[in-house]
Amino acid sequence: MAIRKPPITTREYWAPGHAACAGCGPAIVMKLATKAFSEAMEEKYGDPNAFAIAHATGCMEVVSAVFPYTAWKAPWIHVAFENAAAAASGVEAAWKKLGRKGKILAIGGDGGTADIGLQALSGMLERRHNVVYLMYDNEAYMNTGIQRSSSTPYGAWTTTSPPGKYSIGEDKPKKWVALIAAAHQAPYVATASIGDPYDFYRKMKKAASVDGPAFVQVLAPCVPGWRIPSEKTVEIARLAIESGLWPLFEIENGDFYNIKFQRFPKDGKFKKPIEDYLKIQGRFKHLFKRPEAIQELKNQIKEVWRILGKEVELL
């Protein structure tokens, strides 16, 4: 069997020694994203280092910058929670005026992107800054101790959506920021998962290569927040794709009629049961006493696929 082997650079921008948990999903995102970014910069501008990073408050900011060390081998600015996209806009606009070649990478978690940073993201996309916004989606505020975000999926336990007599856990559908970003007619919008690192790498490289703003939303499981074993991070991220819970797609210039899908089954039938994805995770444990809630989750995911123009069958 031939093994797909994309040319991944040996350059590192995410250095070892950071303080992330064992098996941290977002840490894998940081490593791959910066590598892909530097490759794109080399191809486009002849300089692999032609980028700077603006980072919102969040786990990856905290674990990568433990005084007196840093895990970043690139210019890096940490700004308050809501400001990554706006600060990146500022760096980009100034670079442009100074005639500097390169692109800015803005990074935020789901809380910093879907909630408090949504306004800044919208402004950045609308003003057409040459910035890639990378949203690492671990589906809750993990840095402050696992509170829900608008990107938390239906049914999930968090400390501010505790399940119990009067609550199923998180009781609202997940907000898909990628679709909001696409509605800005941004040149490139994609979803990815660390369950398919090659796909994520390619999308990150593409995002860095296009002229103008791009947005990538990548699923990155959180070991303590999802209540999962640390060796299962990638496996769970892959199960999210295979069960149909995490659509992989690309939307260019807001063209919702020509969405490109990845790893989509030809017959629209996903082969892995959603329960396989849910049962490894402590945050969904309570759902198995409430089968109607699992059905509701499935209905919501089908609805997302329908919005994307696909009728699907989930197990």
């Binding site: 408050t57 940490h78 308050a80 929670f81 809501e82 809380g111 909630d115 408090i116 949504l118 505020y141 840095n143 402050t144 101790g145 509170q147 829900r148 608008s150 400390t159 501010t160 959506s161 505790p162 119990g164 009067y166 609550s167």
Partner: protein
């Protein structure tokens, strides 16, 4: 009414948890929040308790939304609260001013951490004092309380709701990461032991027409409830007694703002609260608020053992500020020290109160750690040498 936590008895809980429980006992049934260290535990407790007491705990998209939702819920008639820390507190400043201008009762808890900006998220500080009092733009007044123990955090939360409802004003509970995260013994009173104040409602349709008019002569207008049939008009613009915008009439602006300031100032005696120790004969008086006063208390006791007549003034209410009290102390003392976990904020108010009658010296500390009693003692003894 059954409470989802023990009442009329003691418990061993965190300061943040105590604030959440006390709020519910005080009648708070609406909480809107946003995760932030070191205040998240208040929100987490509210997430569990509120559904069990038929209340609402809602997560907003940011702190601007949190306080705005609290303002809305308060006009809907609910006792409402939000909690945050430094960066979120900064975001709330605009709507804090709105709540002052529209005389909306609410409680805003600031579990202080070191700033500016993201600063030291997990460590305590007292650097938001001036911001709590003066952070929002324009002339204004409000009430600021400062607990030093978990029990005080509990009791002052109830007091905060009472003051907010009584004077139709936002009340800030200015605590810190140390009190918020510390676990201590707390007595939670039984609801029968509590005296709770609820806002004054319009007695009739005629009164409801003047939601911003001093119709009872006590400077606090009755507050209509949205959805009770009154056509109430609320705006952050300068408004007349009926709430209609009057943005160029100087006398209306002056009348409104003076009443908003005076309803706090003229009731200062009712609001201010402090504790003194050894003030009767103290030659050296330490003044402070919150967590550092516990170190200062120890320092005072140690100094007294060494024959130095020291005393402590612990301020429980930081605004309205009792400048006259400081002046009275200045008349008797030989020297005043201000102990605070910042580079000098309370210091300036104390200096104004002391009015040049006695030297005032600052003992500041920043970096996230509380002054040790030894640090305070050594500083005072150095000066005596």
């Amino acid at each position: 009414m059954r409470y989802p936590f023990p009442v009329g008895t003691v418990d061993f809980i965190q300061g943040d948890e105590a604030i959440a429980r006390a709020a519910i006992l005080a009648g708070c049934r609406f909480y809107a929040g946003y995760p932030i260290t070191p205040a998240s535990e208040i929100f987490e407790a509210m997430s569990i308790y509120m559904p069990l007491v038929d209340g609402v705990s809602i997560q907003m998209e940011d702190e601007i939304g949190s306080i705005a939702a609290v303002v809305g819920a308060s006009w809907a008639g609910a006792k409402s609260m939000t909690a945050t820390s430094g960066p979120g507190f900064s975001l709330m400043m605009e709507n804090l001013g709105y709540a002052i201008m529209t005389e909306t009762p609410l409680v805003l808890v600031n579990v202080q951490r070191s700033g500016p900006s993201t600063g030291q998220p997990t460590l305590a500080a007292q650097g938001d004092l001036m911001q709590a009092i003066w952070g929002t733009h324009g002339d204004h007044s409000l009430i600021v309380l400062a607990p030093a123990t978990v029990q005080e955090a509990f009791d002052m939360t109830i007091k905060a709701f009472n003051l907010a409802e009584k004077y139709r004003t936002p009340v800030i509970l200015l605590t810190d990461a140390e009190v918020g995260h510390m676990r201590e013994r707390v007595y939670a009173p039984h609801p029968d032991e509590l005296e709770l104040i609820y806002r004054k409602l319009p007695a009739n349709e005629e009164e409801a027409k003047y939601p911003f008019g001093d119709i009872h002569g006590d400077l606090v207008p009755p507050m209509p409830v949205f959805g009770k049939g009154h056509h109430t008009y609320v705006t952050g613009l300068t408004h007349d007694e009926k709430g209609r915008p009057k943005t160029v009439e100087s006398e209306i602006h002056e009348k409104l703002l003076k009443r908003i300031v005076e309803k706090i100032e003229k009731n200062k005696k009712d609001i201010v609260d402090y504790e003194g120790y050894g003030l009767e004969d103290a030659e050296i008086v330490i003044i402070g608020f919150g967590i550092v006063t516990r170190s200062a208390m120890r320092a005072v006791k140690e100094l007294r053992k060494k024959g130095i007549k020291a005393g402590l003034l612990k301020l429980n209410v930081l605004w309205p500020f009792d400048f006259e009290l400081i002046e009275r102390i200045a008349e008797k003392a030989g020297k005043i020290y201000v102990v605070e976990m910042n580079l000098g904020q309370l210091y300036h108010m104390v200096k104004e109160g002391a009015n040049g009658k006695v030297p005032v010296e600052l003992i500041p500390k920043i970096g996230g750690e509380i002054h040790t009693p030894k640090e305070i003692i050594e500083r005072i003894k150095d000066n005596l040498r």
